[in-house]
Symmetry: C2
Subunit: 189 residues, 2 copies
DNA sequence: GTCTATATTTTGATAGAC
DNA sequence: GTCTATCAAAATATAGAC
């Protein structure tokens, strides 16, 4: 296990504060106080507040992109790929609870990297949609609008970070399985 | 149709800006520019920036509370009540797209009214959970953890505001019906 | 790597003229 | 109801000493 650099520590603490109040409401003084140093000292490790947000969001967005590419290249059927997507979100969300908050709520405060992020996100959604369309074509899933299905599943998965920390008793494998039941098979008996 | 007061107009425009950048990142100068006046003039109609956020969030949260109370007092079964909840969210979200963003993302910036909001929200979730528990007990819905089911359905419904404006072609009755299929009956064939 | 001191902008908000 | 002028506080960030 590689030792955490001071910059990484700053970014980690910042992500936690960003989750609580949002990027704009967290000041460099807040962050410094949480680190036990003065605000000016932060700039020995990072160039700007913007840089911190860039790192949190882009690093995480690229992990989702990598995960989706692996899923796409697997030879699972539609339902199997959806299961893999659920597992990907449970895994990345549980590993990056704080980063997920920035990814969902503060991406609009990206500057130069904003378009790049939006491109990653739209590619991800396009891949997701095409999995659903294949499933409809092959008769694996119901013939409802793929856009609404994707929206429903994806917003649930993207909001996992709000909810995972409250449920430490629930292990992640069990959570994936329960979500698979609810999101795919429905709650109707 | 009662004419909109100047204060109501300010709150309406503010909600739109808050959706785009979040409460903290929107300045009174931004808001004034959007109204076509100077920042100082805003204070002839509202006491503070905080007051605007209070009005947006609390007004909307109370509408959800009222709606849930009506649903609870109906004699529908569990599935019927869930259908009503979906319709409530589709209706209120489509009528208050911008306000829903503040409700979801900026409630932590409430001050005195923050505890009141949190109470309304936890009461709402408690009512939701009890509907699911009744449905499990009566055998109407599957015996999965009610907490996970509620989380899954409610995060989807709470995120409708992100997605409704993009889908103006889809009418609201149809959207409710599709969500009912997907959230209740699942997407599995 | 952290500090103090400080520059520069921007913020929410008020006073008073029209 | 809106304006100009302004205040006081808070923001990001830099310079230079230790």
């Amino acid at each position: 296990m590689k030792k955490e650099t001071r910059q990484e520590e700053i970014i980690r603490i910042a992500a936690r504060l960003f989750k609580e109040k949002g990027y704009s409401a967290v000041t460099m003084r807040d962050l410094a106080a949480e680190m036990g140093i003065k605000a000016a000292s932060l700039y020995n490790h990072i160039n700007s507040k913007q840089y911190i947000l860039d790192m949190i969001i882009i690093t995480l967005a690229e992990k989702f992109t990598d995960g989706m590419q692996q899923i796409q290249s697997s030879d699972d059927n539609c339902i199997g790929k959806l299961k893999q997507i659920i597992e990907l979100h449970v895994k990345l969300s549980s590993q990056n609870i704080y980063g997920m908050a920035s990814l969902n709520n503060d991406w609009m405060h990206l500057a130069e990297k904003r378009d790049y992020y939006k491109k990653l996100r739209s590619n991800y959604e396009e891949d997701f949609r095409s999995i659903l369309e294949e499933g409809i074509a092959s008769g694996e899933i119901v013939n409802e609008k793929p856009e609404v299905m994707m929206f429903s599943i994806l917003t649930t998965l993207r909001s996992l970070y709000i909810w995972i920390p409250k449920k430490e008793d629930l292990n992640l494998r069990e959570l994936s399985a329960t979500l698979n039941q609810i999101l795919i098979k429905g709650i109707n008996k």
